[in-house]
C-alpha cells in the first residue's frame, strides 16, 4: 500500500479513537471541566502531562534543530526536562495543596489582589496564544506534507477535532484523550528511531546506538565530527554558542517550563499532594523516553543526510530528496556546474528561505537536471544545498528507507503531539476567561451551569482565533514561541516560588516584580529579536547585554524580578495574617481535600 493510503488509515483510526474517548468522558460540572473532577490517577495524569508538554515542536522540530545545532541543541534537552525538577520540587505539591483551579487563582489569593490576578491572566493569555498558534501550524504542515491537503484545510480539520473533545469533555475529555495521544506519539517516535539505530549501529536502543560503532568500526559520533570538520562545519559535539549563553538559555527554558500555566494546571487534577509529586516524576520519566531518543535521532539523521547527499550527482539522488524539493523544503542550485551536490558550511542562499521561480502556467521552472530553479542562490558561498530543519524527523524514515507504514505512523504521531498540546492550551485560555475574568471579577454570582456555558463559549472563541493564527501565521509567531519561555521565567515563576517560600512576600513586591520582569523581557525581545514593524529593525548580536541572546535573557529578567520583588516587599507592609496562614497551610501536605472553586 502507498504511504498516502497508510497515512489516511493511521490518521483516521487515531481520530476515531479520540472521538470515542471524548464522548465517553463528557463533563457535567465546572469541576469536571476545569480539573477533570480532581480524581485522575497519577499514571494517567503523568501520561496526559507528557502529551500536553510534548508539542509539535518537540515531536517534529526538536530533533531536526539539534541535528543542525549539534552540542548547542543541548539547551532544549536539558532545559525542557530540567524544568520538571523545579516543577516537582518547588511548585507542584504546594499548588496542589492550595487547591484552586488556575494559576491566576493562586496569584490572586496569595497576593490578595485583583490587580495581581489580572496581571497573571494577561501573562497566561500571552503565553498560551503564542504557543497554540504554533501547534495549529504544525497540524497544517502534517496534513499538507502527507495527505496533499491544503494547509488551511488541514488547520480546519485539526480545529474541528480539538473542538469536539475540548468542548464536550473539558479537562476530563482532554486528559483521557491525551493519555491515548501519548501512546500514539511515543510509539510513532520510537519505532523509526529503533529501526534506524539498528540499521546504523546494530544496537536497537537509540540512546545506546548514539554512542555505538558504525560498520567501519569507528564510533558514530567521531565519524560525524570528522565529516563535519571535512566539510567545514563546526565539530558536532562542540558548539558555537558561548558557554554563558548556553547557560542562560538552559536556565530560562527550565524556569519557563516550570512557569507554563498549561503544565502547572495538570497538577490540580490529582487527588492528593503525594500524587502530585509522583505524577511529576512519572511525567518526566515518560517525557525522557522521547527526549533521550531525540538527540540520537539527530545524530543518525545528520550522518545519513551528509552521507547521502554530499558529492552525489543530482541525477542519482533518492526520490525523497526530490519530493521534499517539490514541497519547497529542500533547494539546490548547481553553482559550479558539475551536476553534483556540494554540501559544506555556509549559507547557500541569499536570505533565509529559498525563492522558487515559476513558469507562466504556474509550473515550477526546472534547470538542466530537472531541479527547481531558485532566484536567490548566494554566489559568495560554495555550499549549494538548503535543507529546512523541520523536515529531519518527518523525512528521516524515508531517508533510511523504512516501510511505508512507519512513515504514516510518524504523521499520526505528529498530529497527536500537536493536538494534545493545543487542547491543553485552549483549556487554559478558556478557563482564564470564564473563571479568572467572568467568575472572579465581572460576575461573581454566576451559577455553575452559567460558568460551564461561558467556558464552552470561550473555548470555541479561542479555537477560532488559534485557527486563524495557524492559517495566516503572523511573522513573529515563530520567534515568539521560543521566547514564551523567557516570558514565563520573567513573570510567573518567581511570583509563584516566592509566594510559597517567602512568607514575607506581599502584593506590592510580587506585582512590581512581575511587571518589571515581563516588561524588561519584552523590551529586550523587541530590541534584539523581533524589532518593531515600521519603527525599528532588531539590533545586531554585537549589542547584546553581556553577550546574552534574547532566548537566554529570561534568566536575567528572572533575576531582576526576584531582586525587585524582595526589595519592594521589605519596604512595604507585611501581608495580612490570614494570607500568612495560607502560606503555612500549603507548606504541609495533609488535608489537601478537593480543589475548590471558592
Amino acid at each position: 500500500m502507498s504511504v498516502e493510503v497508510w497515512t489516511w488509515i493511521m490518521v483516521g483510526a487515531t481520530f476515531a479513537l479520540y472521538f470515542g474517548i471524548s464522548i465517553w468522558a463528557r463533563a457535567g460540572s465546572t469541576k469536571e471541566f476545569y480539573i477533570a473532577g480532581g480524581g485522575v490517577s497519577p499514571l494517567a495524569n503523568g501520561m496526559a502531562t507528557a502529551a500536553d508538554w510534548m508539542s509539535a515542536a518537540s515531536f517534529i522540530s526538536m530533533a531536526g534543530l539539534i541535528s543542525f545545532m549539534g552540542y548547542d541543541g543541548s539547551v532544549f534537552l536539558m532545559g525542557w526536562t530540567g524544568g520538571y525538577v523545579l516543577l516537582a520540587l518547588l511548585l507542584a505539591p504546594y499548588l496542589r495543596k492550595f487547591g484552586k483551579f488556575t494559576v491566576p487563582d493562586f496569584i490572586g489569593d496569595r497576593y490578595y489582589s485583583n490587580t495581581a490576578r489580572t496581571v497573571a491572566v494577561i501573562c497566561a493569555l500571552i503565553v498560551s496564544f503564542t504557543y497554540v498558534a504554533g501547534q495549529m501550524r504544525g497540524v497544517g504542515i502534517v496534513f499538507s506534507q502527507f495527505l496533499q491537503v491544503d494547509v488551511s484545510i488541514g488547520v480546519i480539520i485539526g480545529m474541528s477535532v480539538v473542538l469536539v473533545f475540548a468542548f464536550l469533555g473539558g479537562m476530563k475529555g482532554i486528559t483521557y484523550t491525551q493519555v491515548a495521544q501519548y501512546c500514539v506519539l511515543i510509539f510513532a517516535f520510537m519505532v523509526p528511531a529503533i529501526f534506524i539505530s539498528w540499521q546504523m549501529t546494530g544496537n536497537p536502543i537509540p540512546q545506546l546506538g548514539m554512542g555505538g560503532e558504525v560498520s567501519d568500526g569507528t564510533y558514530l559520533l567521531d565519524k560525524l565530527d570528522t565529516l563535519h570538520t571535512e566539510l567545514g562545519f563546526k565539530e558536532y559535539t562542540s558548539g558555537s554558542k558561548s558557554t554563558w549563553d548556553v547557560f542562560a538559555i538552559t536556565m530560562a527554558l527550565m524556569a519557563g517550563t516550570a512557569g507554563l500555566p498549561h503544565v502547572i494546571v495538570r497538577f490540580f487534577t490529582v487527588e492528593k499532594v503525594k500524587d502530585a509529586r509522583k505524577s511529576a516524576g512519572l511525567a518526566l520519566l515518560l517525557i525522557a523516553i522521547l527526549y533521550t531518543a531525540a538527540p540520537a535521532v539527530s545524530v543518525f539523521a545528520r550522518t545519513n543526510l551528509i552521507e547521502t547527499v554530499s558529492e552525489t550527482s543530482y541525477e542519482e539522488i533518492p526520490p525523497w530528496f526530490k519530493n521534499w524539493e517539490n514541497t519547497g523544503l529542500i533547494a539546490w542550485s548547481d553553482k559550479n556546474g558539475d551536476g553534483k551536490i556540494q554540501y559544506v558550511a555556509g549559507n547557500a542562499l541569499d536570505g533565509k528561505k529559498p525563492i522558487f521561480e515559476y513558469e507562466a502556467n504556474g509550473e515550477s521552472k526546472r534547470g538542466v537536471f530537472q531541479e527547481r530553479i531558485i532566484s536567490n542562490p548566494n554566489p559568495e558561498e560554495v555550499n549549494e544545498l538548503y535543507v529546512d530543519r523541520d523536515i529531519m524527523v518527518l523525512a528521516n524514515p524515508e531517508i533510511a528507507n523504512l516501510p511505508n507504514w512507519v512513515i504514516a505512523l510518524v504523521a499520526a504521531g505528529g498530529l497527536a503531539a500537536a493536538l494534545s498540546t493545543a487542547a491543553g492550551l485552549l483549556l487554559v485560555i478558556s478557563t482564564s476567561i470564564s473563571h479568572d475574568l467572568i467568575k472572579k471579577q465581572i460576575k461573581p454570582d454566576i451559577s455553575d451551569k452559567g460558568e460551564l456555558l461561558a467556558a464552552r463559549v470561550a473555548i470555541v472563541f479561542a479555537i477560532i482565533v488559534a485557527g486563524l493564527f495557524g492559517i495566516y501565521p503572523p511573522g513573529f509567531v515563530a520567534a515568539v514561541v521560543a521566547l514564551a519561555f523567557g516570558l514565563g521565567a520573567a513573570s510567573f515563576f518567581p511570583a509563584i516560588v516566592l509566594g510559597i517560600f517567602d512568607k514575607r512576600m506581599n502584593k506590592e513586591g510580587a506585582i512590581a516584580g512581575m511587571v518589571v520582569g515581563i516588561s524588561i523581557m519584552l523590551f529586550y525581545m523587541i530590541r534584539y529579536k523581533t524589532g518593531l514593524v515600521g519603527v525599528m529593525e532588531p539590533l545586531p548580536q554585537s549589542d547584546w547585554w553581556f553577550g546574552t541572546s534574547p532566548e537566554g535573557f529570561g534568566t536575567i529578567a528572572m533575576i531582576i524580578n526576584i531582586v525587585v520583588s524582595v526589595v519592594v516587599s521589605r519596604l512595604t507592609p507585611a501581608p495580612p495574617q490570614d494570607v500568612q496562614e495560607i502560606v503555612e497551610s500549603i507548606r504541609i501536605p495533609s488535608g489537601a481535600g478537593e480543589a475548590q472553586s471558592h
Partner: protein
C-alpha cells in the same frame, strides 16, 4: 493549629528545605556544571563512543533528573509519615 502540630509543621518545613537544597545541588551539578561549565574539561574523558561532557548535556543529565524526582518522592513520603502529615 495547636502547638504540637505547629511545631511539627516547622520541623517538617526545615527538613524539607534541607532535602531541596541537596537535591537542587545535584540538579545544578549534572546540567550546569557537568554539561555546560566543565563540559570541555570532561570531554577529554570518554564513555564508550561519547565524550563525557557531551554525554551529560544530551543524555546523562536527563537520566539524573528522572531519578532525582523519584528520590524526592520517596524522601517526602517518609517525611510525611514521620510528622503525621500523610492522609
Amino acid at each position: 493549629m495547636d502547638d504540637k502540630k505547629q511545631q511539627h509543621a516547622k520541623a517538617y518545613w526545615k527538613e524539607n528545605l534541607r532535602y531541596l537544597i541537596i537535591l537542587l545541588a545535584v540538579w545544578f551539578s549534572v546540567s550546569f556544571l557537568a554539561g555546560i561549565i566543565f563540559k570541555d574539561a570532561l570531554d577529554s574523558i570518554r564513555l564508550g563512543g561519547f565524550k563525557l561532557g557531551f554525554w551529560f548535556a544530551q543524555q546523562g543529565s536527563i537520566y539524573v533528573f528522572v531519578i532525582l524526582i523519584f528520590v524526592y518522592v520517596r524522601l517526602m513520603n517518609g517525611l510525611d509519615k514521620k510528622y503525621g502529615f500523610d492522609d
